[in-house]
């Protein structure tokens, strides 16, 4: 038994807690994605619907989210170096990239809806809106957490280990998108 963390630090507690949260989030997204895969495998003809999506937009969004993961990791690295200005700068970048992701997503939603593709227009669209919507809510939550940390850093408070915990969550949301991108946009 190596997991004997008697009288542990708050950093360790936070890290273990967020990993438990991620584990249960994997089950949530796993259930949703599993249902999607099964529904899609059960009935053919979804590729035609999926072709209405813009791979270009989604690729840009993927790029945005991947970059935001890097800036988040760098914010943590700055914290480790004791570079408070770096923490603020990279956190701000991460938040802006997250918002950019949501903006592009909102633009995509609008254009689908203009074309008449709404959540109840068929199984593919139901799953599309459900999966991306669930993910977008997670991005929003992560951006809010990052914003709170940014405000704390702005007032000269130490963001401390919390930045690592927020980062773990942010990277997890990124990983979810890494799978949603091919699942919804690329595969046929």
């Amino acid at each position: 038994m190596t997991v004997v963390f008697e009288q542990s630090t708050p950093a360790l507690r936070g890290k273990i807690a967020i990993w438990w949260v991620i584990a249960s989030e994997v089950m949530i997204f796993g259930g949703a994605v599993g249902s999607y895969i099964m529904a899609r495998a059960a009935s053919p003809g979804w590729s035609a619907e999926a072709a209405h999506l813009s791979t270009f937009m989604a690729a840009i969004n993927t790029f945005v989210l991947l970059t935001s993961s890097m800036t988040m990791a760098m914010a943590f690295a700055s914290y480790q170096k004791g570079d408070q200005r770096g923490v603020r700068r990279f956190l701000l970048l991460t938040i802006l990239l997250g918002l950019a992701f949501l903006g592009i997503k909102a633009y995509e939603y609008t254009s689908h809806i203009m074309e008449g593709a709404v959540p109840w227009s068929g199984s593919f669209w139901s799953f599309y809106y459900m999966l991306t919507g669930l993910h977008a809510l997670h991005v929003l939550a992560g951006a809010i957490v990052n914003f709170i940390l940014f405000l704390a850093a702005g007032r000269g408070l130490s963001t401390g280990y919390r930045i690592e915990i927020a980062g773990l969550y942010w990277h997890f949301v990124d990983i979810v998108w890494i799978f949603l991108f091919p699942l919804l946009y690329l595969s046929y």
Binding site: E25, A32, S35, S126, M130
Partner: protein
């Protein structure tokens, strides 16, 4: 293993303990003290138990004397009956069993038994209780919206639950789904908190192999919950979209699949049974050791069995679906796995019984409840084999036999396991002793009426009476079992009345019971080293250091018949275990 030195309390906990005066709101309502939060869970659970019990009373009356005016309710139409069935199940499982067994016991016991001053995240702990409270409120409100409460069964099978026109209930089911979402997030946060606390905040010397079994079982229950609820959360989002946006995830006309809901529901629904069961088993194990003054027989084996039960619980969910139209080739593997789950659980039962062997047994109230639990749980487990066998399930699926079975397992865990824990830890929780004669009376009446209520249900079910029908007199072939239905109803009312001695005892003891010492049962685990009731921060200057396993009762070479986990012994005076 070397014993680490005593560790000074962390600054934050000292600061907390020093906050003598927090004011009414911070002390009793928005508190971060794990013990007060445990009491909040307990009160919520007890309150909801009476709501659920009232629903059960109305249902039973309707089944015994169909379409008569029910005292205290009035006439029950078929729509109302469906709402009663649905909410009775939902309330009893999610708002009684989980808050009491996981919420109250987990919050109270985990920090006290591992030697921590509070949970790892006290404010999150408060949040998870208040989310649950809002969720319970939503369920209560859902009865009073137009068209009444949710009426698609506690399992909410789609498409009945997916379109308002099938039930005629619109906001009742929406609120019911929202309540579930909140309930799940509450226990997700709670489970993360439990696990983090137990992994990172154990007292010096408290290794995993010295943890009390109830902690092992609470933790296993939390893991099972965290890993099983996700797919159902996803499914609930989809069902809500089906209802609110008109999508067709589970509606076949739009390309959806009703069986998918059943699978995702039971992928959570079955592990949930073990989420409720394990804490109850744990409380009983603690009590058995204390009142027979013996170590638990085969401590390690119980841990292995608990973990095996946890793993197996993920492999059996489709036994709820043998006749649902699932692939018949999948049926036998699930049936075999289901029956195999009896192996680790019987090992635990054998260990419980062997713990009594050559003990020095004192039949105090908690011990009576523990023994009652073993008896009832054996019965429920054995009828589970009948249900788990796929071929027999063809006949008894969806009948009152199943109802009898899960009341013998789940309700016996809540009643017998819950009262075992409550009577046992009451002195620690409230600092006073409960009245013994009243407790024994409560036990005897409950045992009697519990069996008079649920035992005949097996027979009614074998005769073929389906669950969830509102009026058995509409069926010729059920005329023969109607006298049994009447008997069950009268006994069920008796079971509810049998809780009166408890209510009196509970209220009276909290206010005027005999003051409890810190260790009234002479138990060896850490919670009994704190004062009764423990103050904010649990221990005074320093937290205890642990030197041995939790069940050192009647060890040779010691004058008393127990050796607390935190008592340091001079080298050589008695052997130390592990």
């Amino acid at each position: 293993m070397s014993n680490p030195p005593r560790v000074a309390p962390s600054p934050s906990s000292v600061a907390q303990a020093a906050h003598g005066e927090l004011g009414f709101w911070r002390t009793y309502v928005f508190t971060t003290d794990h013990k007060t939060i445990a009491k909040q869970y307990l009160s919520l659970g007890l309150f909801m138990a009476f709501v659920g019990g009232y629903l059960a009373y109305v249902m039973r009356w309707q089944l015994a004397f169909p379409d008569t005016s029910i005292p205290g309710f009035g006439f029950v139409g078929p729509e109302t009956y469906n709402a009663l069935v649905t909410n009775h199940g939902t309330i009893m499982v999610f708002f009684v069993a989980m808050p009491i067994l996981l919420g109250a016991f987990g919050n109270f016991l985990i920090p006290l038994m591992i030697g921590a001053r509070d949970m790892a995240f006290p404010r999150l702990n408060m949040l998870s209780f208040w989310i649950l409270a809002v969720s319970a409120l939503l369920i209560l409100i859902s009865f009073f919206v137009p068209a009444g409460g949710a009426s698609a069964g506690w399992t909410g099978y789609a498409p009945l639950s997916a379109r308002a026109e099938y039930t005629g209930v619109n906001w009742g089911i929406n609120l019911w789904l929202f309540a579930h979402a909140l309930e799940f997030s509450s226990f997700l946060i709670g489970g993360v908190n439990f696990l983090t606390t137990a992994i990172t905040m154990r007292a010096p010397g408290m290794t995993f192999s010295r943890l009390p079994l109830v902690i092992w079982q609470l933790l296993t229950a939390s893991v099972i919950f965290l890993l099983s609820v996700g797919p159902l959360i996803a499914a609930a989002v989809m069902l809500l979209m089906d209802r609110l946006l008109g999508t067709s995830f589970f509606v076949p006309e739009g390309g959806g699949d009703p069986l998918l809901w059943e699978h995702l529901f039971w992928f959570f629904g079955h592990p949930e049974v073990y989420v409720i069961l394990l804490p109850g088993l744990g409380a009983v194990l603690e009590v058995l050791a204390v009142f027979s003054r013996k170590p638990i027989f085969g401590y390690r084996w119980i841990i292995y069995s608990t973990l095996a039960t946890g793993v197996l619980s993920f492999l059996v969910w489709a036994h709820h679906m043998f006749i649902s139209g699932m692939d018949p080739r999948l049926v036998m593997p699930f049936s075999i796995a289901t029956i195999l789950i009896s192996v680790p659980l019987s090992l635990i039962i054998f260990s419980m019984i062997l713990t009594l062997w050559k003990g020095s047994i004192r039949l105090a109230t908690p011990m009576l409840w523990a023994l009652g639990f073993i008896a009832m749980f054996i019965l429920g487990g054995l009828t589970g084999i009948v249900n788990g066998s796929a071929a027999l399930d063809i006949q008894i699926h969806g009948t009152h036999f199943v109802v009898a079975h899960f009341h013998y397992t789940l309700l016996s865990v809540v009643i017998f396991g819950g009262f075992t824990g409550l009577y046992f830890w009451f002195p620690k929780m409230f600092g006073r002793m409960m009245n013994e004669p009243l407790g024994k009376l409560h036990f005897l009446l409950t045992l009697l009426f519990f069996n008079l209520t649920f035992f005949p249900m097996h027979a009614v079910g074998l005769a073929g009476m389906p669950r969830r029908i509102a009026n058995p007199l509409q069926y010729e072939f059920l005329k023969a079992v109607q006298p049994l239905n009447v008997q069950i109803t009268i006994s069920a009312i008796g079971l509810i009345i049998a809780q009166l001695p408890f209510l009196i005892n509970f209220a009276w003891s909290i206010m005027a019971g005999r003051k409890a010492e810190s260790n009234p049962w002479e138990a060896a685990t850490l919670e009994w080293t704190a004062p009764s009731p423990p103050p904010h921060g649990n221990w005074g200057e320093a937290i205890p250091t642990v030197y041995r396993g939790p069940y050192e009762y009647s060890p040779p070479g010691v004058r008393e018949d127990y050796l607390p986990q935190d008592r340091a012994l001079a080298a050589g005076s008695a052997k130390e275990r592990r």
